[in-house]
């Protein structure tokens, strides 16, 4: 029996569908023995919805926009979303002279709940820090707008191609594409994405999380905790003025004549009792609490030593209840925290954080 996409109920086998191929890509992969194979992936859809697919075998004649009859396929959950699989037992037959009006399905999501496996989502948030840039495509100059979208659960970077937005506007974005880039989640807005101004209050405050809740990338969130381990790599480091890479010797091997500058860096493990997370911090968050200014980091005039900065870091940060605001980033198979702001909690902040943590549980 031919099913509609909305009728697919969880993981199932032997599915027949007539669908439109809305996107189709090819990739080469290597197995553990080094043998390579080609597989296809993309999105198929019908009047009732869309679903991502992976095909281990797929007719080369099929193109994006074609209507196909897929039979003997199966579904499995992959990266938190349901995926259709086409294997050697499946049949893919072109259905000529047909067209289907594909319904795009956009899951309503908070920024926290956006998963890399989502194709498109509907999300609401406050627009912050829009920056317009131009780029060249096929010899034509085009504009792209980058901004941050914030809701009560965190924030996410957004790239908008062809849609303009205003700072401090609260909008509903319908059909934004989800991706993950350098360990951070991103949204992309295209011509057919809707951006609708709405009336809703969103506070510009980082939500507080327990460390155990941080399993996916998200920007602008708060955590509290005590440092369990401060890496001895922390402290003062030299960077190339041109490429900003860490310089171990006196000069950057790639830009030996361009000079260096001093930078602050800390790598530590922080724990709040529910879990631990590796965190890093740079000069913008460490400088204020260490009392080190940009002028102190000028190699021409600085009297700072590596040992002195490490000792100051250790005595300032360890054994103190800390409140950090920053971004959760995926590196390999785990998440790390990049602190943008570090605060040593006083009594008032402590009371606020402890109260918030208890309120956060709805049991």
């Amino acid at each position: 029996m031919i099913l509609k996409i909305e009728e697919i109920n969880g993981e199932t086998t032997d599915i027949d569908l007539v669908v439109k191929v809305t996107s189709l890509k090819k990739r080469e992969s290597q197995n553990s023995t080094g043998a390579s194979s080609i597989f296809y992936y993309g999105i198929v859809g019908d009047e009732t919805g869309s679903i991502p697919f992976t095909a281990w075998q797929f007719p080369q004649s099929i193109r994006e926009g074609d209507i196909v009859h897929l039979s003997h396929c199966y579904t499995r959950t992959f990266r938190d979303s349901l995926r259709l699989y086409v294997d050697s037992r499946s049949e893919v037959v072109l259905v000529p002279d047909e067209d289907i009006e594909v319904k795009r399905t956009y899951r309503n999501s908070t920024i926290r709940d956006i998963k890399p496996g989502d194709l498109f989502v509907t999300v609401e948030g406050l627009i912050e820090d829009p920056i317009e840039k131009t780029y060249e495509k096929d010899g034509v100059s085009k504009k792209v707008l980058y901004f941050t979208l914030r809701d009560e659960t965190g924030s996410i970077r957004v790239s908008s191609f062809g849609k303009s937005v205003m700072a401090n506007q609260v909008v509903r974005i319908v059909g934004a594409k989800v991706s993950e880039y350098r360990g951070r989640k991103r949204l992309t807005i295209f011509e057919n994405t809707q951006v609708i101004p709405i009336s809703r209050e969103i506070r510009k405050e980082a939500p507080l999380y327990d460390i155990s809740e941080l399993s996916n990338p998200i920007d602008s969130v708060g955590i509290s905790g005590l440092i369990v381990n401060l890496s001895d790599k922390s402290g003062l480091m030299s960077r190339c003025k041109t490429c900003r890479k860490k310089v171990i010797d006196i000069k950057c091997p790639e830009h030996p004549d361009d000079g260096i500058f001093y930078d602050l860096f800390a790598s530590f493990v922080i724990s709040d009792g529910t879990g631990e997370i590796n965190a890093t911090a740079g000069a913008s968050s460490l400088g204020p609490i260490l009392g080190i200014t940009q002028e102190n980091l000028d190699p021409e005039t600085s009297t700072l030593t590596k040992m002195e900065v490490f000792t100051r870091l250790k005595s300032t940060l360890t054994g103190k209840p800390l409140y950090l605001v920053g971004d959760v980033v995926r590196t390999d198979d785990r998440v790390n925290f990049r602190a943008r702001e570090i605060l040593i909690m006083n009594k008032e902040k402590l009371a606020e954080v402890l109260k918030k943590a208890e309120e956060g549980y709805e049991i």
């Binding site: 005590l226 360890t318 054994g319 103190k320 209840p321 909690m345 049991i363």
Partner: protein
């Protein structure tokens, strides 16, 4: 292969003291086994905080007892090649110092078969009063959550971790609940939870004293006629806020010791 660092668990001394289970290891497992506490927490490493109650420097190691609101932890800092820095830090401590400690648990059974657990510190940090309050509250909060998870698990015919996670408990809390039911069926959880209320009382007492200290400082500043603020004025102002005279005396002693005020003449106080 990257070995994942063993997470340091935040637990109160009573939870560690009442622990009687060492997890069985299969023959091919390496390293020390986990101990399993009455709240079901699987522990190899802990993060604890409190006040140094005693210190005893011996030839090869230093013994420390550390007080939290429910009792004491026993710490042994050995002088090995890898831990000389920690041994030095332990030797430098004084009774009454507030510290936070990350350390590995070291269980051993007495001849009577009773499990004793000491902690081998890996790092010792000097801790501010706010750190102790933070640790107390967080540990209390985490322990209470585990208790609620255990109660929820008890309602089920058999342990079902997934159903607890669906209710909003973290996977670790749900696993703790299953462990507690498996290993500590006869443990008096109710009594344990009642003892937690003393942590709340200690914290409330500390908050009350903080607020009285602020009041005393404000009144001294406002009512200093040049000869200092009168003791009676302080007692009157404090009584309006429902503080006892004995509490005012305690706050004055405290502020005097911390160098915030001084007694300029008999029962007259000035801000430093």
């Amino acid at each position: 292969m990257i070995t994942k660092r063993e997470v340091a668990k935040w637990i109160l001394s009573k939870e560690l003291r009442d622990t009687s289970v060492i997890e069985e290891q299969s023959p091919d497992e390496r390293g020390r086994p986990y101990i399993i506490s009455p709240m079901g927490t699987k522990i190899k490493r802990v993060l604890i905080a409190g006040s140094v109650a005693s210190k005893n420097i011996l030839e090869n190691y230093t013994k420390i007892t550390l007080s939290d609101p429910l009792g004491t932890f026993f710490l042994s800092a050995f002088a090995t090649d890898f831990s000389l820095e920690v041994k030095d830090a332990a030797d430098a401590l004084s009774v009454g110092d507030n510290i936070a400690v990350v350390g590995r648990v070291s269980p051993f059974k007495t001849d009577e078969g009773i499990l004793r657990i000491s902690i081998m510190p890996e790092s010792i940090f000097s801790a501010a009063e706010d750190t102790i309050n933070y640790w107390n509250w967080r540990t209390l909060f985490i322990t209470r959550r585990k208790y609620y998870a255990i109660q929820e698990m008890r309602k089920r015919e058999k342990p079902d971790i997934e159903s607890l996670v669906k209710l909003g408990y973290s996977p670790e809390e749900a696993e703790c609940a299953a462990n507690s039911l498996k290993y500590y069926q006869d443990y008096n959880l109710q009594e344990f939870m009642e003892s937690l209320s003393s942590v709340t009382r200690v914290s409330h007492a500390s908050e009350r004293l903080d607020s009285l200290r602020d009041l005393v400082l404000r009144v001294i500043k406002e009512q200093d006629d040049g000869k200092g603020c009168r003791y009676e004025s302080l007692v009157e102002a404090a009584a309006e806020e429902n503080f006892e005279q004995s509490e005012v005396d305690e706050a004055l002693n405290d502020l005097g010791s911390s160098g915030d005020i001084y007694e300029v003449s008999l029962k007259r106080y000035k801000i430093i």
